[in-house]
């Protein structure tokens, strides 16, 4: 009843083509952004920022990147963490060796380097598909980690391999409090999400989806395979690179290879699956779900331990987390293979008709 778009007429082409054609959607997004930018910094605690919100935003960005590649262009990639790592290390190096560059530029350089490596490791996608491509990207993952460990230039000849990330400063204002880091991350993620949303509505996005659905047919109607697939890898790796740079600078505070292991690649893949393959909103939903799940499990087990007065060891909690993760993935794949985004769409459909059932 509230969600009806009856009476909302469009009088210009621009209105017809806007991202949120329904007024209620526009209002909702405006409110969400207002809450995120204004209300949250006022009410949230340090813990909320550094443990929940910042990783949620960073992983949403990485999930966006992987969604562009896997969900929209159909190329499976297990090398997300490697691209994030490249972004982080190259951003660190840019900050270090180009002192005149503002740190946002360093992030962009990190993303561009990740994009270049993404193109290099996307070359096999021109010949192979499916699981084989996943294995090729696994090769990328291991190769990149090995390179970071072995080439001393990347870690600035650091002995331990763990480097402290530099401070971020812009026009004299230092981003060192969790609240300021949160706002910085939020701005970057919001802008890149907008870019992604527009990308998938554009001709490039449609080319990606054509390649995903049936690449032979796409080639037949004239979509250039090499350009499209490599562009998908490049854009996706750019997003993952920026996410990696944010991960190192805004969340961890250090730049180390151990933060970008295969486990992270799998987590981002799970976020894509649970959130919804091929959906921008799904990236956020999936990232939120997976980032918050361990925290809720912890809280839940603490609660149970207090109520029933039993000792639950850390190992048990982390194993239960594993089981729940895996179980949820299987559950989602069986019940709703299109993820949380599809559930949200169904909810909106029902909202349109409420209070009527059909």
């Amino acid at each position: 009843m509230l969600y009806r778009e009856a009476g909302q007429f469009k009088s210009t082409y621009a209105e017809d083509m806007q991202i949120f054609p329904i007024r209620q959607d526009r209002v909702a997004v405006a409110v969400l952004l207002a809450v995120a930018f204004v209300v949250v910094p006022l009410v949230a605690t340090q813990y909320w920022f550094s443990a929940l919100l910042i990783p949620f935003l960073i992983f949403s960005l990485a999930t966006l990147g992987l969604n562009i590649l896997t969900g929209y262009a159909g190329q499976i990639s297990l090398g997300t963490a490697a691209f994030m790592g490249i972004g982080a290390f190259m951003a660190y190096n840019a900050e270090l060796r180009l002192p005149w560059m503002p740190f946002l530029g360093s992030f962009a350089i990190g993303g561009l380097c990740a994009a270049l490596v993404g193109i290099a490791f996307g070359l096999p996608s021109l010949r192979i598909k499916g699981f084989y491509l996943a294995v090729a990207t696994l090769a990328c993952q291991f190769l990149v980690l090995w390179t970071i460990n072995r080439v001393p230039w990347i870690t600035n000849h650091s002995a331990s391999g763990v480097i402290a990330a530099q401070k971020m400063e812009m026009f004299g204002y230092a981003f060192d409090t969790p609240a300021s880091k949160y706002l910085l991350t939020l701005t970057i993620v919001a802008l890149m999400a907008l870019a992604a949303k527009n990308l998938v509505r554009s001709e490039t996005g449609r080319a990606f989806m054509a390649v995903r659905d049936m690449d032979v047919a796409a080639e037949v109607i004239g979509i250039p395979m090499m350009k499209t697939k490599l562009l998908a890898f490049a854009i996706s790796s750019f997003y993952c690179g920026v996410a990696g740079a944010l991960y190192a600078f805004c969340y961890l505070g250090t730049v180390e290879p151990e933060a970008f292991v295969l486990d992270i690649s799998f987590r981002v893949l799970f976020m894509v699956i649970i959130g919804g393959v091929g959906s921008i909103l799904g990236s956020f939903l999936g990232a939120g779900f997976i980032t918050l799940l361990p925290i809720f499990l912890n809280l839940g087990s603490d609660f149970i331990a207090k109520t029933f007065d039993i000792e639950i060891s850390h190992a048990v909690v982390s194993n239960l987390e594993s089981i729940t993760f895996g179980g949820l993935i299987i559950f989602f794949l069986i019940v709703e293979p299109n993820g949380l985004a599809r559930l949200w769409q169904i909810a909106k459909e029902k909202l349109r008709l409420w209070p009527f059932p059909h």
Binding site: I76, R127, V135, L138, S322, L333
Partner: protein
Amino acid sequence: MTFFIEVVAGGLLAGVMYSLVALGFVLIYKASGVFNFAQGAMVFLAALTFVSLLEMNWNFWVALAVTLVVMVAVGVLTERIVLRPLVNQPPITLFMATIGLTFVLEGLSQLVWGSQPHGLELGIADVPMEWLSQKWNINISKFDLFAAAVAGVLVGTLAVFFQKTRIGRALRAVADDHQAALAVGISLQHIWAIVWAVAGFVALVAGMMWGVRNGVQYALTFTALKALPVLILGGFESVPGAIIGGLIIGASEKLAEVYLGPYVGGGIESWFAYVIALLFLLVRPQGLFGEKIIDRV
């Protein structure tokens, strides 16, 4: 020269261990078309159950039998809970489901048996064979040869199983064409349960071998990742391909580590197999023995 032979022999035998894990993948892929990422977790579960039962002072053969029953149960339950609702979904969905299964099995194994590493002794010591090392100065571990022999026996048993028994023929029929197999009255559900159970048995053998070599610990789950290049080399559906792919990967990995490693700082083993697989993929995407994928528009 003897050092070279030693490296090659060591590599070949390491490759045999990879093939053991790859065999499980191939079996499941052949029969149900699912790429079972959870094979590594099954290896871990099998090894951990076996070793924990041994440490509770159970008889060796009883522990083996009980572990086998556990693996068969895992296989049947997987088919029931995970595969049956996902019939006819695209392969990527099934792949993701097996990744989920990996997490479940890993968590379950460690929840039940704990997460400390265990050593495993099968009675064959990991020492070089004396007469080889004394006569020709070549050190080849006795245990490696034992593992190779076990793998040979396993492959032989599987070959006999597939060729001579009725169930084996049904498995091959299902691997060829699901619908045709249904048409002649083969129950897909039963066959899939059997295949997963057999893969569980292979996982148990692989787990025992790897457990002696590396200890039974969480890192055992990563053997699955090592088996992926083997599968690519050999083709996803071929048992001889898994063996030969394993031998090639094992030998070239060791040779690269020994002869190329010093030039680039060492530690090549982590990615060299993948690079070989990648090069292979670019030249022959279906692997040495795999079926050529022909896309028709």
